[in-house]
Symmetry: C2
């Protein structure tokens, strides 16, 4: 999909120009990073979701925002924008209530890392993971970590606790049966992480609904270059796909 | 091992009575929770480590401690004690420099959760994980999450990114070849988490050496009971082993 097509479709969903631009950047970044299940296809999917395209996320205080009916992508975009404009002195925990869907979490922490801030982000989603044969009790609840680096490219970790993504299921690339905790025989580890992250969010919010929790901090050291020198491929450094502009 | 035997051995390593008691509680908790690689056997192992049994961890400010030569177990015990005595108004990030070894991280967040505080804890350790055939670049770097519950028992997640523990290797229960990122075919997910958590710690410390990072927060909601009602076994609720007192 070309940029102009994407923006036209997003504006047709009722988004303001600036918000349509933010959403396009998110979907196009996912497409270019080889995560099409978070990419352009999500524009048509958004039309099936319940949200108020004109809603503005509300900041309650330094450590709490309320999505206020806006799509989660835009809530996290606004939260990151505010943190970059006015970073904490050391570190801050930000609880984002009623914040869903939030997309590819690595996109948000990458923005923070490119602005020199460490970010750790998780978000809840509908329960799709459980023990074999048991009830579905946890979302795929990814954990994303963004680390700035003086050598330019940040490290961006973004790990979902599912063996496949819900987007893959929606796109017909995987069956719902394949959406289990990753880990093979050690599935209990990924399920435990998904449950821990979910309870973290659910114990910090004051209102029902899916939410996100973001830790942001200023770095005191610069460890990425030494790790890169080992020669391993660092998370988030995947070669970008060539997608038409 | 009986309690009195354990305390005698710990005091023989030079620890004060109160510190020997804290260490015994940690090792005995691990033993009773079915994690013998973090249990009584660690007392003899401690004798092989480099530390100053009489050192006292130093608090630099609200968000930073320095192990100051003390064993990591005792640093985290002191940090948790201080946070329970004087909890943050909302949330606080605590960076623990020169803090190693830290043991079973779930033990520390369980103490916080039993005192009504949410805890999220990670810690670095010597590099033992890497891509297949590649260099060892990451510690097993566990992530522990403790969530208090009004129904009494907290949920305690404690997940190492290795398929087996280093303790299992030391004890001859697993070979060093088996110490790979967990996940089977999806080993890259556990390695990415290990690298992300390691860089988080390494970018927050000001001194070289292994360290720990702890997020502590007051809960605003009480989600555990509803999750327990689904009937699944919650992390950290494993039946305790019957170990002689």
């Amino acid at each position: 999909m070309h940029r102009e097509d994407g923006l036209v479709r997003l504006r047709a969903l009722g988004f303001r120009d600036a918000d349509a631009e933010l959403l396009w950047q998110h979907f196009d970044d996912a497409e270019r990073r080889g995560k099409p299940s978070h990419g352009h296809a999500r524009i048509d999917w958004l039309a099936t979701q319940s949200f108020d395209a004109q809603a503005r996320p509300k900041q309650i205080d330094d450590g709490r925002w309320d999505g206020n009916g806006a799509v989660g992508y835009l809530v996290l975009a606004r939260v990151c924008h505010a943190l970059i404009a006015s970073p904490p002195r050391d570190a801050r925990l930000v609880v984002c209530e009623r914040t869903f869907p939030t997309g590819m979490l690595g996109h948000h922490v990458r923005r923070l890392a490119e602005a020199g801030l460490i970010g750790v982000l998780t978000a809840t989603s509908p329960p799709r993971l459980g023990p074999p044969g048991g009830p579905k009790v946890a979302g795929t609840n990814p954990l994303a970590v963004g680390i700035p680096s003086s050598d330019g490219e940040p490290v961006v970790v973004d790990v979902s606790m599912g063996a496949v993504t819900w987007g893959d299921v929606v796109a017909g690339l995987a069956s719902e049966d394949e959406l289990v905790p990753f880990g093979g025989e050690q599935w209990h580890k990924a399920l435990a992480l998904a449950l821990g992250l979910q309870l973290l969010v659910d114990s910090l919010v004051t209102q029902p609904g899916h939410g996100a929790v973001l830790l942001v901090a200023r770095p005191h050291a610069d460890p990425v270059a030494a790790l890169r020198a080992t020669g391993i491929r660092l998370p988030g450094a995947r070669q970008r796909k060539n997608v038409p502009k």
